[in-house]
């Protein structure tokens, strides 16, 4: 089988999702010919990183005209290259880039997309996917009938591939490249913390934090763990935290390895957005709070005492382990 993975790069670095997609491709067919597709200007040197993370081939469009991301420009370009290179499957990330570009490629090819999958597989020769719907209140199993078979996969659903492969570079031509909407500038968030949508650990706060100033406790724990800071809808709507931090049905739906909910009671919309986390910790003073029903570990207590104590215990663990 021939599988394309849509690699992502930013600031001269291949993004981790690219390597996770290689693992997903190998899960579909371990002997597949996995082609990482990379577009941009001056991105050639990144091919080595993709090889080190399991790409058999790197389909490279290194062209100054396509230096800046354009959904229609890159979408039409990659639809044309897909017609020429004929992958059986195309996997993109369910990221701000992948959720934007992958459907545009699919539209150009006149085919469907199984979007935001947390698991992919093959059944009777067709791509299947498990995708949360209603923000995770239910799971849909879907089968893709059109060719090439396309899916986007949520970050952290697969570990990054660490098995090197040949990474043979195949240069492709941008042809008569035309772009309408074009990225002109990227403004990095002031925070150096990971983004809630792609973080491996998230520490979230809710109304139980009693005020925006107390999020310093959440941030201290998050920074000790190298984690992102999340928030419930209540505190985002109250203006305590930025919209981008919201976890839940009208915010981010996340699947980190560890989700620590502090002072969050667990409204149905919030639980939907974080229930697929591998481990959930709840810290809340109300033992009846619904958040405890999804938690692996719970501490019933005052967040103002417990959260700093957890931060201290993590520091002690780190110190003990050097």
């Amino acid at each position: 089988m021939h599988i394309w993975v849509l690699a992502e790069a930013r600031d001269g670095q291949v993004k981790r999702i690219s390597y996770e997609l290689v693992t997903a491709a190998r899960a579909l067919d371990d002997s597949a010919d996995v082609t990482a597709v990379l577009v941009g200007s001056g991105v050639g040197p990144l091919a080595g990183d993709l090889a080190a993370h399991g790409a058999d081939r790197v389909l490279l469009v290194d062209d100054v005209r396509a230096a800046q991301y354009s959904p229609d420009g890159w979408g039409n370009l990659l639809a044309r290259l897909a017609r020429e290179d004929r992958p059986d499957v195309i996997l993109g990330g369910a990221t701000a880039r992948g959720r934007d570009l992958t459907p545009r490629i699919a539209a150009g090819l006149g085919v469907g997309v199984a979007s935001d999958a947390v698991e992919v597989g093959m059944a009777a020769g067709r791509l299947t996917a498990v995708r949360p719907i209603y923000a995770g209140k239910a799971l849909a199993r879907v089968v893709v009938h059109s060719d090439p078979q396309i899916a986007t996969i949520r970050p952290n659903s697969y570990p990054p591939c660490e098995r090197p492969a040949a990474g043979t570079v195949v240069a492709a031509d941008a042809g008569d490249y035309v772009a309408g909407a074009v990225v002109t500038h990227l403004e990095a968030a002031a925070s150096t913390r990971p983004d809630v949508a792609e973080a491996d650990i998230i520490v979230s706060g809710g109304r139980g934090m009693a005020g925006p100033e107390h999020f310093a406790l959440i941030e201290a724990l998050a920074d000790t763990l190298g984690a992102a800071v999340g928030a419930s809808r209540a505190v985002v709507d109250a203006g305590w935290r930025p919209h981008g931090d919201q976890v839940g049905q009208t915010g981010k739906t996340v699947s980190p390895s560890l989700y620590i909910a502090c002072g969050i009671s667990g409204a149905v919309q919030h639980l939907a957005g974080m229930k697929t986390s591998k481990y959930i910790v709840a810290i809340n003073k109300d033992p009846e709070a619904p958040i405890f029903s999804v938690a692996d570990y719970g501490i019933v207590g005052d967040v103002f005492e417990v959260v700093p104590a957890v931060t201290e215990a993590v520091r002690a663990l780190r110190a003990a382990n050097g």
Partner: protein
């Protein structure tokens, strides 16, 4: 600046979907239907653009009879016109088919829009596909996850939310835009607005009215074979004792048992 806003009606986000999931499907009978929350941001932005630049706001929804109430809710906020596309032949369209039908309907409007807005996804099936397919079908650029927009002559300068920051995108108009939370704060309908739409007739267009042969629509490319409740999480452990003891035990378990820190 004429805008079209795509409206989807979805179950209220408070609906306990997991309790309605059985035998491989979701039973939506008797749910409360609301306007997709992301579409509300799209409507609000269209109304603000109208206030700043003039023009009209036209709402389009594809769906059964009940969808008319969603259109009335949004008309009450100040949109000018609404069109409902309703035809039994359109009951089970995939994202591509939906986009093809919407594209045909937009082609029947008296004036072509300068901007087409939609929520970035419906909070029911969470696909986030239709607006992007629509842009392609209309031969237009698109910008997704929009949190800010400024119009500058024949182009729009847009901020979109990405992981760890914001991208600025410049696009010629017309174009398709999808709204992300944070774009604006939505308004509430005034009593006057609500009274005004009571009498408003919403045209219903069927396949013939928009000139679409249902047989020509792409079949559903992604088929749902089964819907299940999310797996039950094993019952958790409550860690007791003084906060410092509970915290130490928690960190030990996360390190030694869960191995996530």
């Amino acid at each position: 600046m004429n805008t079209v806003v795509l409206i989807k009606q979805v179950p209220d986000t408070a609906t306990r979907i997991q309790d309605r999931t059985a035998k491989g499907r979701v039973d939506l009978s008797g749910v409360t239907w609301v306007v997709n929350p992301y579409d509300e941001y799209a409507v609000e932005e269209a109304l603000r653009i109208k206030a700043a630049h003039g023009g009209t706001v036209t709402l389009i929804a594809l769906g059964p009879e009940r969808v008319a109430s969603a259109l009335k809710d949004m008309l009450a906020l100040g949109a000018d016109e609404a069109v409902q596309i309703v035809d039994p032949a359109f009951d089970d369209l995939g994202a591509q088919g939906t986009a093809a039908v919407l594209a045909a309907a937009i082609g029947k409007l008296p004036a072509p829009p300068d901007m087409i807005w939609a929520g970035w996804k419906g909070v029911d099936d969470d696909q986030g596909l239709v607006p992007i397919y629509l842009a392609h079908a209309l031969g237009l650029p698109h910008v997704s996850f929009v949190v800010q927009v400024a119009i500058d002559g024949g182009r729009a300068i847009v901020q979109r939310e990405v992981e760890g920051g914001k991208e600025t995108v410049t696009t010629p108009l017309p174009a398709v835009f999808t709204a992300q939370k944070g774009l604006n704060e939505v308004r509430y309908a005034s009593l006057k607005g609500i009274m005004a739409v009571k009498r408003k007739e919403i045209p219903a267009w069927d396949a013939a009215a928009i000139g679409v042969d249902p047989a020509s629509i792409a079949p559903r490319a992604v088929e749902t074979t089964e819907i299940t409740p999310p797996p039950e999480r094993p019952s958790g452990r409550i860690l007791g004792g003084a906060p410092s003891d509970a915290a130490r035990e928690l960190v030990r378990l996360l390190h030694e048992e869960a191995k996530v820190i």
